[in-house]
């Protein structure tokens, strides 16, 4: 019953990369309509936890359910398209234009190409659409990633230090995208080092230390 409307349910989850243990005994529940701010010092494992939630890294122990699906089972691939992740480093193809990058995402996800264009306008890159991603500034690349998630409308959105590289006018994008997901009944996990900035847009905060969430 609990898990029915909880987007993320982790019980004593552990994660390893190779032989290094990074997370241990992580308990975390994120319900629909909730946005959780996740804090923790450098190297604590925040990015790793986001990758586990995103099904990109398999937990090595514990029970983990995301969007009603067990992360240990092979069903986890079917929920990938419902999850959005904006990570530290831009995931664009430097040889393609900003528009081409977004259109590629649209084609794979089955979104209309017009949506890609609209999203690019929304993040303020309408006029820079033909610039190569490799020649775009850091902030422009981040904005394209926001455009991607605006276009794809994920049910579960994971943000890793979303404010970095965005200028003051673009910082609103973070609140905008978080609000959008929550309005649709989705959930957000937001990693940040900047408590003050994040506070207004999260319903709850959690701290990651010693490989576990407190």
């Amino acid at each position: 019953m609990l898990s029915a409307n909880a987007h993320v349910v982790f019980r004593r989850v552990a994660a390893r990369i190779g032989v290094t243990t990074i997370l241990r005994d992580v308990n975390l529940t994120v319900r629909a309509g909730e946005s959780v701010g996740l804090f923790g010092s450098n190297g604590a494992g925040k990015t790793t936890l986001l990758r586990v939630i995103a099904t990109l890294l398999r937990p090595s122990a514990g029970e983990a359910q995301v969007l009603g699906t067990d992360l240990g089972s092979s069903d986890r691939f079917s929920i990938r398209s419902r999850i959005g992740l904006i990570g530290h480093s831009p995931a664009l193809y430097p040889e393609l234009s900003l528009a081409a990058n977004l259109e590629f995402s649209a084609r794979i996800a089955g979104a209309p190409l017009a949506a890609a264009n609209d999203a690019l306008e929304t993040v303020g890159l309408g006029q820079a659409r033909d610039r190569l991603a490799g020649e775009a500034s850091h902030g422009m690349q981040r904005r394209v990633e926001f455009a991607r998630e605006l276009m794809l409308q994920p049910e579960l959105l994971l943000l890793d230090e979303p404010h970095s590289a965005l200028d003051p006018s673009a910082v609103e994008l973070v609140e905008h995208i978080v609000a959008g997901v929550l309005d649709r009944g989705g959930a957000v996990v937001l990693v940040s080092h900047d408590v003050d900035r994040v506070a207004p847009m999260v319903t709850r905060t959690a701290e990651l230390t010693g490989g576990t969430v407190r």
């Binding site: 190779g18 990758r51 995103a54 099904t55 990109l56 092979s74 691939f77 990938r80 398209s81 419902r82 999850i83 959005g84 992740l85 990570g87 530290h88 480093s89 831009p90 995931a91 664009l92 193809y93 040889e95 393609l96 081409a100 590629f104 995402s105 084609r107 794979i108 996800a109 089955g110 190569l132 991607r148 794809l152």
Partner: protein, 223 residues
């Protein structure tokens, strides 16, 4: 197979070809480099038209294979972890990814082979009898190598050794293709059409396609 299979496969293929067009790796590096390799052999072994025309076809396919492997694995090598994560979360069907990548690489390899073939004919003074069969041999070689490269790329992706391992995995496995292509051409020039080598190649291509399709999902699961 979902109804998004083909759109996804074509989107992947298109992305790879677009990236190649911008970087010009095959056009500006692989092709000239392969041509230089073909040029160097006569220079290094001493020029003797007789020996040359005898080893020509063989050298062609050795060069096609070595550089083909480099091209095939490059498509995997240039992918960053962040890009890999992003495409996974787009919900790409791993089988469509295999198909799309293989299509793009096969096209590039076909272009490479055509140019190398022309260079070999010009440099080694080959007898062109039976070369019409190249119309079948070259695409089979291209598809087979592309499938192998894609498959090995996804096996080696995100291991510790990473893409460094791929050529080691691909090259020995590509030997049946190499044998098939040289032997087809040789057998044709010697005894007329002998289809058994072509059939071997077709079987290899088919087996690789099946393995690629069947293992796409299990391989994805390890990421």
């Amino acid at each position: 197979m979902s109804n998004r299979f083909w759109p996804q496969a074509f989107a992947i293929a298109r992305r790879d070809l677009d990236r190649e067009r911008r970087s010009g790796e095959v056009a500006w590096v692989t092709i000239p480099f392969g041509a230089v390799a073909l040029l160097l052999v006569p220079l290094a072994v001493g020029i003797n038209q007789d020996v040359l025309s005898r080893i020509g076809t063989g050298m062609l396919f050795v060069v096609v294979m070595l550089f083909g492997v480099l091209t095939a694995v490059r498509q995997t090598n240039i992918e960053t972890p962040a890009q890999r994560d992003a495409i996974a979360l787009l919900g790409v069907d791993p089988v469509a990814e295999f198909a799309g990548r293989s299509m793009a690489t096969a096209l590039l390899l076909l272009a490479f082979q055509v140019v190398m073939g022309a260079v070999t004919v010009a440099l080694y003074g080959l007898d062109l009898a039976g070369w019409e069969w190249m119309v079948v041999v070259m695409p089979l070689t291209a598809i087979g190598l592309a499938e192998l490269g894609t498959l090995s790329g996804s096996i080696a992706a995100s291991t510790n050794a990473g893409p460094a391992l791929v050529p080691l995995l691909v090259t020995p496995l590509a030997i049946p293709l190499l044998l098939g292509s040289t032997q087809t051409v040789e057998s044709i020039t010697r005894d007329g059409v002998n289809l058994s080598w072509l059939v071997l190649m077709a079987i290899v291509v088919l087996v690789l396609a099946i393995v690629g399709v069947v293992t796409a999902r299990p391989l994805q699961e390890t990421r």
